[in-house]
């Protein structure tokens, strides 16, 4: 078995008395999509924020490419190669679609201290940005103000910004939310191909997408991983059915 790229060791996080993460140990192996599913409030976003930065675990560690990154800042983790997308779009709403993507390319270049030449005329940044936008199908909207995009298009732009970073692992928080069935089918097939570039830790509510994509699934309930396994194993797991999937599966 190949070594995992990303691994959490017993991540635990309290919010007051609430245990939002309870000794969560998950890992992500090269080439795979590892889906994290769980009901609302299960602690999925809290887990992602501990992996990518933003929330400090009460205890436990995050290991990325063999290195302990628990103490690193969000930006350092990004530079190490973690590409995160947000559940609630964190985009520059007043800026154009292209500008948001160029921001990603600029971050990846690590050279923001240039004060004179126009960013959008920098061919390296621009090519990277346009390339990412083309891949998610937003290339026709380059100069649209982000605030004018539909909810689904914002989700696509989130993914595009992560693409510009050329990360070593993607960590995506519900990229399909609000996409509609057409959009989510399209994104499903896109993510299917993307795993060859970098593995994806995928938090997702859309079960069709999860069952179509995931190499492995972990089920999070009340902050705790109650099961990890292949799609078939999870489907067959009685505890999961009781806690989460309900009768309709």
């Amino acid at each position: 078995m190949t070594d995992p790229i990303l691994k959490t060791h017993a991540l635990t996080r309290y919010f007051g008395a609430l245990k939002a993460s309870d000794a969560v140990s998950v890992d992500l192996r090269p080439g795979e999509i590892h889906a994290i599913i769980g009901p609302n409030g299960a602690g999925k976003t809290t887990l992602i924020a501990q992996i990518c930065g933003g929330i400090t675990p009460s205890s436990g560690r995050v290991e990325f490419m063999g290195r302990d990154i628990t103490g690193l800042t969000t930006r350092a983790r990004s530079r190490e190669g973690l590409g995160r997308t947000f559940q609630i779009s964190a985009l520059a709403m007043e800026d154009s679609v292209l500008q948001n993507a160029v921001l990603g390319a600029l971050g990846a270049s690590g050279r923001p201290w240039r004060f004179f030449g126009p960013a959008l005329k920098d061919s390296v940044l621009r090519d990277q940005a346009e390339d990412a936008l083309r891949r998610v199908g937003l290339h026709d909207h380059l100069h649209k103000r982000t605030a004018e995009l539909s909810h689904g298009q914002r989700r696509q732009l989130e993914v595009a910004v992560a693409l510009t970073l050329h990360p070593k692992a993607f960590v995506m928080d519900e990229p399909m939310a609000g996409l509609g069935s057409g959009g989510s089918k399209q994104l499903t097939s896109f993510l299917d191909g993307l795993r060859a570039e970098a593995p994806i830790l995928l938090v997702e509510h859309d079960m069709d997408a999860v069952f179509a994509l995931a190499d492995r699934i972990s089920v999070l309930v009340y902050g705790k991983v109650i099961a990890t396994g292949t799609v078939d194993e999870i489907r067959a797991n009685a505890e999961v059915q009781k806690a989460y999937l309900g009768e309709d599966t």
């Binding site: 969000t74 530079r79 800026d95 500008q99 921001l103 971050g107 923001p112 201290w113």
Partner: protein, 327 residues
């Protein structure tokens, strides 16, 4: 709706035409008023970089304006009294040369902006406003108590400082000098806004979490913006003191910080020529209404209220609509 570029060209034309007219009509006072507007505009261009691009609501920009003013006052004072500024560890003499004074004003306000910026940017929102205001008050009271340089009375200089090749005592010469500096600052501001730094700063204002996620430091971006901003306002302070041939602690006052912010808000926060419109309107009101009533600020207040309530983009927003996204 007017295209913003057309409006900007019109404004530059106006800035040139009024003094030319005043020259022909022999109205030197109008030229002085226009110089005042241009220098205020420059101060506000500085603030607009912090406020408009960086979203930093600094109510302490008079600190930099005052530092620039005192850089002029102190250097010229030593030159006209033939006393050195310092003898140890190295001899520093006063000067009456504008370029040297400007350099000193820029360096001093840059240093102040680094320190104030580092401390203030640890906070955000209302606390940021308060801490910048507090720095303003500190400098104000320090200047009052600094008796070596006039304390409360400030410093006067006998003749305006010199610039190679110009007679700065002629109002239109000095006006031209200030206008060139303003236009240069606007040009740099325009380039900055579209540069990689400007793009990142814009995003840091709107969504700092995103900026961090792409591996950049939003606080550092804002700090650099604050420093550039302070340096420009500092240069404006030196020009303002030279215009009046006088500097006093009022240049550090919170009223002045408020006025610089008012210029930006009237014209349009984040709009390139917002500071120019704001400063022109302010100086015009001050001149036209100030003659009628001591309480002309009431009218300014009403204007400000209307703009904040009904035209979030300032006068430029009312005339030109929302800013276009760059392509």
């Amino acid at each position: 709706m007017i295209r913003e570029t057309h409006l900007n060209i019109g404004l530059v034309a106006l800035l040139m035409a009024i003094p030319v007219w005043a020259l022909i009509a022999d109205e030197p006072f109008i030229i002085t008023l226009m110089t005042r507007a241009v220098v205020f505009a420059l101060a506000a261009v500085g603030l607009n970089i912090a406020l408009g691009l960086g979203g930093l609501v600094s109510l302490g920009h008079a600190v930099f304006f005052g530092i620039g003013g005192y850089a002029m006052g102190i250097l010229a004072h030593h030159a006209q009294t033939y006393t050195p500024l310092a003898e140890w560890p190295l001899l520093i003499e006063g000067t009456k040369s504008m370029p040297v004074i400007w350099l000193a004003a820029i360096i001093a306000s840059t240093l102040a902006a680094v320190v104030i910026g580092i401390l203030s940017l640890r906070t955000a929102g209302v606390y940021f406003i308060m801490i910048t205001l507090a720095f303003g008050q500190m400098f104000f009271f320090f200047a009052i108590s600094w008796s070596a340089y006039g304390g409360e009375d400030g410093l006067s200089i006998y003749v305006r400082n010199g610039f190679p090749g110009l007679n700065t005592l002629v109002p239109v010469h000095y006006f031209g000098l200030c206008l060139v500096i303003l236009l240069a600052a606007l040009f740099l501001n325009a380039r900055l806004a579209k540069s990689p730094f400007g793009l990142a700063l814009n995003a840091a204002r709107q969504t700092p979490a995103r900026v961090e996620t792409v591996g950049l430091d939003p606080t550092r971006l804002k700090l650099v913006a604050f420093v550039i901003s302070g340096a420009i306002t500092g240069l404006a302070g030196a020009l303002f003191a030279d215009l009046n041939r006088f500097v006093s602690p009022t240049m550090f006052s919170w009223q002045l910080s408020g006025e610089i912010m008012i210029f930006v808000i009237i014209g349009g926060v984040g709009r390139l020529f917002g500071p120019v419109v704001g400063a022109l309107v302010f100086v015009a009101l001050e001149h036209l209404l100030g003659g009628l009533s001591d309480y002309w600020h009431i009218y300014l207040g009403i204007l400000l209220l209307l703009i904040v309530l009904f035209g979030r983009g300032g006068l430029i927003g009312i005339l030109c609509g929302r800013e276009r996204v760059h392509d």
